[in-house]
């Protein structure tokens, strides 16, 4: 479970000493176990910053975030034990094979060599990576890299998943496979938080949605709740209204 309360974060403007740019302001939302929560927002809205704070990679300037009962600022290592994190870019090691990438992370998470190899084999099967499981990741397509990175995020069977644009670069079949996997994880009681700027993606997968725009949460709740709050009939219009634009009938 993730509880974000009034998170704010500003970054120093590049090349200046005193100018700051606010990335997120007063961001609050909940992501529950056994649910998929979507963080929806345009590019540059503050999605990745929020997820990085939740993954304990950034310290919030104010506010707090608790993941499975651990405060991200006070106990980051415990938070990291609970989460599987997929960053915006896959970031896999090009000179290692897919399997070696997985085993490396498993061992870093404290698993034994044998358990790491068994788990890697399971995930290679689960993610349909048999064809490239023992190939070095150099020259992989974006989709293949994302699959390796996603399998890596799942390697230690984390309770909570924080996935930054997980369908990035995936083709139709791989995206469908990912959706099925995430639903499966939801059924098993995992808390899944995904970010995306693709509304249809969020709509198809999420039980709850938090819409973020200009670093602020502008709408949150279940999809019917958001439709009610914005007095719209579909999520696309609701999204447009929520981020402060006027829905255009021609669009």
């Amino acid at each position: 479970m993730i509880e974000a309360t009034q998170l704010s974060k500003a970054f120093r403007k590049q090349g200046t000493r005193r100018e700051w740019i606010s990335a997120i302001t007063d961001v609050s939302f909940h992501a529950r176990d056994g649910e998929i929560t979507g963080l929806l927002g345009p590019n540059g809205a503050g999605k990745s910053t929020t997820l990085r704070i939740l993954a304990s990679l950034l310290q919030p300037d104010s506010g707090s975030a608790v993941v499975d009962g651990y405060d991200v600022a006070a106990d980051p290592v415990s938070v990291r034990r609970q989460i599987g994190y997929l960053p915006h870019n896959a970031g896999v090691y090009p000179r290692l094979t897919s399997r070696e990438n997985l085993v490396y992370y498993a061992e870093l998470c404290g698993m034994t060599r044998r358990d790491s190899e068994t788990r890697a084999e399971e995930l290679i099967e689960l993610m349909g990576m048999q064809a490239f499981g023992d190939r070095r990741t150099e020259g992989f397509s974006q989709g293949q890299r994302t699959r390796v990175a996603l399998a890596r995020a799942l390697i230690h069977n984390p309770r909570t998943l924080i996935l930054d644009e997980p369908t990035n670069g995936l083709d139709v079949m791989a995206t469908r496979g990912l959706r099925a996997l995430l639903r499966q994880l939801r059924e098993r009681g995992h808390c899944v938080l995904i970010s995306s700027h693709i509304m249809q993606e969020i709509e198809r997968l999420s039980d709850r949605v938090a819409v973020i725009s200009d670093g602020r949460i502008v709408a949150s709740g279940s999809i019917p709740d958001i439709l009610d709050a914005t007095a719209c009939n579909d999520l696309e219009d609701a999204y447009v209204v929520a981020i402060g634009e006027t829905p255009d009938a021609r669009a």
Binding site: A55, L57, V77, G91, Y93, R95, L96, Y105
Partner: protein, 389 residues
Amino acid sequence: MSAVWTLIRKEVRDNLRDRRSLFFALLYGPFLLPLMMVGPMLYNIDRHTIDFEAPTQIAVEGGDHAPNLLQFLHRHNLDAVEAPADYREQLVSGELPVVLSIAPTYADNFANGEPASLVIYHASSEDESGNRRRQLRAVLEQYASQIRSLRFGSRGIDSRIFDPLAISERDQSDKPRGLLFIAYLVPFLLMFSMLMGGYYLAVDITAGERERQSLEPLLSLPLSRYQIVLGKYCAILGFVGLAMLLPLVSTFVLLSLLPVDLLDRNLDFGLQTFGIALVSNIPTAMLISAFMMAIAAFTRNTKEAQTHLSFAMLLPVVPFFALQFLSVPLGTFSMLVPLLSQFQIMELTVFGKGVPLHYIAASAAGSIAFAAMLLGLAVHLYQRERILA
């Protein structure tokens, strides 16, 4: 600790697959560099060395005119053979190194006490010819001196009255200036090799990891930044250590190929010297690894890291020149200065003066303290949020 070991194993395996890292760590510093530095020295010494003990054939034209001279040459390991008719062409083509031509008037001139004419034909463009010419000339001068003594002696005159001064030189310096270079060769070579050996690994596992964006998922694992830095540091240290150990072995082998009296009898390049070089440079390896780790962690991408570390390549040059051109006092205080102390320890060892244990301890303490500071700086840099920027 198992996480640190996992990190080390991965970084080493990853970089063993990178041919560039491998080339610089295992081939360039350990073998090419010593060959490039010591090789020409060996070659030059060998080329300009004359072995007076080895029997050598010497082509002689008109040997019949001077049988006594030929006997003298034979006693001095120069065996006369008849020079071929086209010896001038053969000298030009390098087939013959030198020819001694004895004039037909030699015997008469010699008997009359007049200067008897000898011509040494040689080719100055050929090294071998130069060596043989010097050897022949030295033996002939010895013969002339002997004949001079005999002639004066037969007239009741001591020939030494023609040598009013007996000049000899004795160098009292304990470290002759020209030889300092050779004494500094080993630490210079080791430091340069260490920098080259760790260079690509340091760039790849710090700045390279940031650029590949594999650092962000790594930092999201339940590891402390200290563990991550330590793992990466140990991997660099492994490569740097190897880049120190291998050239030490190869330089030892190369220098042991030198004939004992060729370098200088005062220089000690024995096993003990190399043992001390190993012990005194283990802290240098720790320092250089930490230095590269900190520099590469500070930079944002591989290009920036490569630029910064290229300047670091000048590092071993600083003590080299400081000691060559400045008068740096030797003592416990100077032993605390990293890099400089390793040069000074080598200077003492190579000149066979013995290195006090507290010098080695001070040198190690200074280098390890600096290494710890730089490692602390690297941990600090990894703790900053900007490491993800």
